[in-house]
Amino acid sequence: MTTDTKKASRDISSPIMAALFIAIGALVIWDTTFYTDADSYVFPRTIASVMIGLSLLLTIQWLLGWSPSAGDPGATVDKSVPRRLMLVAAMIATALAMPYVGFLIAGMAAFVIIMLTAMYDPWTPYRLAVYPIAGIIIVVGFYLLFAQVLQVPLPEGKLPLPF
């Protein structure tokens, strides 16, 4: 058994992902049982069946030690997980807050939080002065471009503002 093969057989992500895809496929097939028309279920049911078959094939590959590309789940180890989580949380929170506080305020808050999340350099007086101003220009500039020039009806918010 070669080193690669040993590594592949030790890697348990393949069977876990295969199980996940089988579960998704089963869920899709279950959902298709409620459709009224054959036109609606032929395609998703066929694709879900193929996906389940491929997942089983992936499991067999793993059992035989033929899984050549296991990905790199350990790549996160030496990198900042909290920053990653903060970025995703900030983006989702911005989307959910938009209808309530308006796009402009939600966008500015997102910009500040993500800027702090992505900041690795020390905060010098120059950066403290320039970065927030640049952020305001970018957010307001894009807001005006979309809202005024492109006539996109961006959310204005429902909450009463203190100003």
């Binding site: 998704i24 009224t36 609606s40 998703p44 590959q61 789940p73 970025l87 989307a95 997102a110």
Partner: protein
């Protein structure tokens, strides 16, 4: 003589300025993730209502061609296709940018876009009426096989494990089925969620799957976004011209593919780019370099997607059937202007049509200097902006761009969630591209499949429906070659190598 007059009319200062302004506006709008070529044309259509029909067409054609090219910037520099047409540009563009060749990639994309645009416009000028018949020769089953051909590219994008890539493709196909079924109006795979009833919007999914994983990885380390060489290399025009001359057959073939796919109503630049990419890879000697930063990949995609501009105008003007989504907007604008499209347009109102076609040539040629300058500026901006400003700026652009597509907060949430799922799947060896391919081609494949199945069942000739039509058979042959050709060639070369070795011994 009439042709000369039309050329002079197209070169009038007003039309020249409209072509220039349209290309610049289109390039800038197209480069913003979330703003597609269709939106660029739609947003600027009202300006054209007060213009002469030929001038209006020139402006809209220039915006369209500029937007298709502009999509390459963010595809190359941010791994986010500015427009769906630029999906395949990310495959090699972003790896080139990461290794420090972003400037070369942008210049290559500009040259390829100009070549593609010119070939498409030439077909429109010379062969529009006969080529319009191609659109009518494609039935549902041909669209189905065309979508399958696009999906066969998954084999090329498998990054070592074909099974995982195919599983990703299936996941994308299932994602495309979410929402209201187009044929029967059943609500599918929403599991009671109102957020999913509208389905997954393709462009927002593209932004999520390509851009969010890049952002997630960017915030995790203090490393620079792109590798920056110490010395400025300028536009690297000479180098790009060398690659373009070396890849001239690839450029021409991809441009013809783009034109022909553009003629097919509903197919569009994304399929053109994918098919051309697949063909370029199949015929290349350096197949293993595709997906890792091969200039030929960018050349194929960018020439093909810009060729769809001219190609798409063929059925639009000759048959009144829009070849691509932006053509539908342009068709509407022409109807507002009182221009009757149809076979007689090229004779009864030839001055309008030919002035426009020459204007499209001028706009495409103008794209070379403007594209190079804007591209250079975009590249320098991306590498000069500190990460603490780049990441929130791109994140904000993804949020506002996704929202603007359908004015939907749900789309924004779906975009972020899909991007996060894409990142997690990426950790386990499932790359985003097969999922995206499935998502984009899913609706075309399903519509074609279901319609062909219905017709085949009604005529009691299912096998003949799927496998008995000449165009279908030609596409099936291309699929088989695309999927198994490289393996067969490798097999033969392996058999040949030991034999050669024995000869030496």
């Amino acid at each position: 003589m009439a042709a000369f007059e039309n050329l002079i009319a197209a070169m009038s200062p007003m039309n020249f300025l409209l072509a220039l302004g349209g290309v610049i506006a289109g390039t800038v709008i197209g480069s913003l993730p979330g703003l597609t070529a269709t939106m660029a044309v739609a947003v600027l259509v009202p300006i054209t209502f007060s213009m002469e029909p030929a001038s209006a067409l020139i402006l809209m054609g220039a915006i369209y061609t500029g937007a298709i090219y502009g999509g390459a910037y963010s595809a190359i520099l941010l791994n986010t296709p500015g427009t769906p047409s630029a999906i395949a540009t990310t495959f090699d563009g972003y790896p080139m940018a990461k290794r420090g060749d972003g400037d070369l990639a942008v210049t290559l994309a500009c040259i390829a876009s100009v070549v593609g645009g010119l070939v498409g416009a030439a077909f429109l000028l010379i062969l529009a009426p006969p080529l319009a018949g191609v659109a009518l020769a494609f039935g549902p089953v041909e669209y189905f096989w065309l979508a399958v051909f696009g999906l066969s590219l998954i084999a090329a994008l498998s990054e070592g494990n074909l099974v995982k890539a195919l599983m990703g493709g299936c996941l994308g196909l299932l994602l495309s089925a979410i929402g209201v079924a187009e044929v029967s109006a059943d609500i599918r795979l929403t599991f009671g969620s109102q957020v999913l009833v509208g389905g997954i919007e393709t462009v927002s999914a593209l932004i999520g799957l390509y851009c969010v994983p890049v952002l997630i990885d960017l915030v995790a380390t203090p490393d620079k976004h792109l590798k920056v060489t110490t010395e400025s290399k300028g536009l690297r025009l000479k180098e790009a011209m060398h690659y373009s001359w070396r890849g001239k057959f690839n450029l021409i073939r991809s441009s013809v593919v783009g034109t022909l796919v553009g003629i097919l109503p509903g197919a569009g630049g994304s399929i053109a780019g994918l098919v051309a990419y697949s063909e370029a890879r199949r015929t290349a000697k350096n197949q293993e370099e595709f997906g890792k930063g091969a200039p030929e990949g960018i050349q194929a995609t960018e020439s093909a997607n810009n060729a769809t501009v001219g190609g798409g105008f063929i059925p639009t003007l000759v048959l009144g059937i829009p070849g691509t989504p932006p053509d539908a907007v342009i068709l509407g604008a022409l109807l507002v202007q009182g221009v009757k499209v149809g076979p007689n347009l090229f004779t009864s109102e030839s001055s309008i049509v030919y002035t426009f076609i020459y204007g499209l040539f001028i706009a495409t040629i103008l794209m070379l200097p403007t594209g190079l300058i804007i591209g250079r500026y975009a590249y320098r901006s991306i590498i000069a902006i500190p990460k603490a400003l780049l990441v929130p700026t791109v994140a904000f652009m993804t949020l506002i761009g996704t929202y603007a597509i359908r004015n939907s907060v749900s789309d924004v949430v779906i975009m972020v969630v899909l991007g996060t799922i894409g990142w997690v799947l990426g950790r386990f060896g499932f790359s985003a591209s097969p999922i995206v391919l499935g998502l984009i081609l899913g609706s075309i494949a399903e519509q074609g499949f279901v319609q062909a199945w219905t017709i085949g069942a009604a005529t009691e000739n299912l096998t003949g429906m799927f496998f008995g039509r000449p165009i279908s058979l030609a596409i099936i042959a291309m699929i088989v070659i695309s999927l198994f050709g490289p393996s067969i060639v490798r097999l033969f070369s392996r058999q040949k190598t030991p034999a050669t070795g024995e000869d030496h011994q």
